[in-house]
Subunit: 339 residues, 2 copies
């Protein structure tokens, strides 16, 4: 481990990379015309030696501050924290500092934070939110990328989870297991993510010549609602042969956990009689559930990293526009298959 007391200088990096100090400067500041291989060699040498360009000097030389604002409207951070951590990691790898600013859903506080970030001369801002509802864009003279909660303005760059693809993956998995009577239990009907996933699931079922078992049940994003919805499903569809469904697709891991708890309490075997899928792959829920949940991981850290990459592109004059969808990943566990 390098010591902090003897700072690494630019000439050290130049020596290790076998280039001139001027080339090191160009490579690290992304200025001048350099071959990609040279730039890469310099960056590797800088990283190996732990070289940190002096922030103030760099700012004056390049008119960039090499800092980016991470503006979150969230408070608890269930979804925005992984996004921010992913972004911070990608920025740190590019020697860019992340200025944290949390507005906790308060627009006045957000305004204040935006002004503070601009006062800091950030090169750009990543905006994250507590859910995937499109949000009002911020009005600033630097590049912005919206992560998780997209901007309402079409031309803005937004990186969002591909919820429709996630729902299709869960349906395909259940169909591959031979399930044909799939019930849907999800959260708030006024939520974008609930609607997108239900619509995609219904479409995927119809594509296989099936339909949703019963009507999709909308409620809360809670375990309690999962238990209540299970009671409703059992009451409205029970027959002497058992429940009128062989799978329940849930809108979140919390809902799915409530569903598996209540199915077990009502004597239904999971996955023997009823397969259950969650959404989010929130380990606290998905692993603690009995049985552990097959679920869809929206890859929020990757989403944050991607937002940072798009922002760095924009800062370097290559802006992106419109929505970028991050493909999710199906995680198979014991709530759908005993194998």
């Amino acid at each position: 481990m390098a010591s902090t007391s003897r700072p690494v200088r630019i000439v050290d990096v130049a020596a290790l990379a076998g280039v001139s100090p001027g080339t090191v400067s160009k490579a690290l500041n992304n200025t001048g015309a350099l071959r990609a291989s040279t730039r890469e060699r310099v960056c590797e040498a800088a990283e190996r030696l732990g070289f940190v360009p002096d922030g103030s000097a760099r700012t004056l030389a390049s008119r960039r501050s090499y800092s980016v604002g991470l503006l979150s409207s969230d408070s608890a951070g269930r979804f925005s924290i992984p996004v921010m951590l992913g972004a911070e990691n990608a920025l740190a790898a590019g020697q860019v500092s992340a200025l944290l600013a949390t507005s906790r859903g308060d627009p006045v506080r957000e305004q204040h934070h935006v002004r503070a970030l601009l006062g800091r001369r950030v090169d750009g801002i990543i905006v994250t939110g507590r859910n995937t509802e499109p949000r009002r864009p911020i009005d600033v003279p630097v590049p912005v990328v919206y992560a998780y909660a997209p901007s309402q303005a079409d031309g803005d760059a937004s990186v969002v989870p591909d919820d429709a693809a996630g729902a299709r993956m869960a349906v395909a998995h259940l169909l591959a297991l031979g399930r044909t009577r799939v019930a849907l239990v999800t959260g708030r009907a006024d939520r974008h993510s609930a609607q997108v996933r239900v619509n995609a699931a219904r479409e995927a079922l119809r594509g296989a010549g099936l339909d949703v078992a019963g009507e999709p049940l909308f409620g809360e994003w809670t375990e309690r609602w999962g238990r209540q919805a299970t009671d409703v499903l059992l009451r409205t569809s029970a027959s002497p042969e058992g429940p009128g469904f062989d799978a329940i697709m849930c809108g979140s891991d919390q809902v799915a956990r409530g569903v598996t708890d209540r199915l077990r309490e009502r004597g239904c075997d999971v996955p023997g009689q009823v397969a259950v899928t969650g959404y989010d792959d929130w380990d606290v829920m998905s692993l603690a559930s009995r049985p552990p949940l097959t679920t869809v991981d929206p890859r929020l850290e990757h989403l944050g990293r991607r937002a940072a990459e798009l922002l760095l592109d924009a800062i370097e004059g290559q802006p992106h526009h419109g929505l970028e969808l991050v493909p999710p990943r199906l995680v198979v566990r014991a709530s759908t298959t005993d194998d």
Copy 2:
């Protein structure tokens, strides 16, 4: 809401506060001798107008960068995130920017982040960790405050949760409810927080002429362990009159949730026969538990805020030394009392 396009100037703040621009500068930069009431009036005016001093100009004028590093060794962030959010809020209120740096338990990455923060000329660093084990201090030429995970060096300023007080609160609550046979189920025996709480609970029980029912059970910080430990307790202490304990104090809300689940499944009424307490007040667990958990809230956001306050003091030349304990708060719910 003020628009971002027409920046507020220092003369605007001076006019509103009824002072000279020089006084505004002194008040906001904490330089010069001003009456507290004047400083306050200026700060209020600046906040009302949304005045943001130019970062670079301020740095040059005062040799302070008005930025602070938030260095976390955590990855998932269950405990460090609330601490960081609390710190960020306190810093933002003081017009100080928070530079986020997460090392994910990797010492080499932490070294790199420390150098990057120093390269940014931060005025100080708040270090947080994933647990309350004392950690190796960082070696930097700026003030540091350790939050949640204290420094191993006695003279360093550390702000930590008062786990012993939390355990005493839970015991006092159970004793007030007339419980006398209190069993203890907690997490890893090699963890500081597990040991501190068990020792404090045992001492509090002895102070009331009682002892722990059976031996304290150490295991994992999981629901599964809570269920397993409940089976152990019921097996080793059952008698025709029922279980040999009337309360179970748990080392975390996850453990307590597993305990309540298994007690219910084994036909034990909570809190009728057995009262259960958790620790952490992690709402996902404490509210979803059946019944909802009486628990101890370590007030991690407050802890983060306090760390920021101590750091700002140190930056202004008034350093603190040694441990500061943050008093927790007991949150009473249905797992201990039906009232």
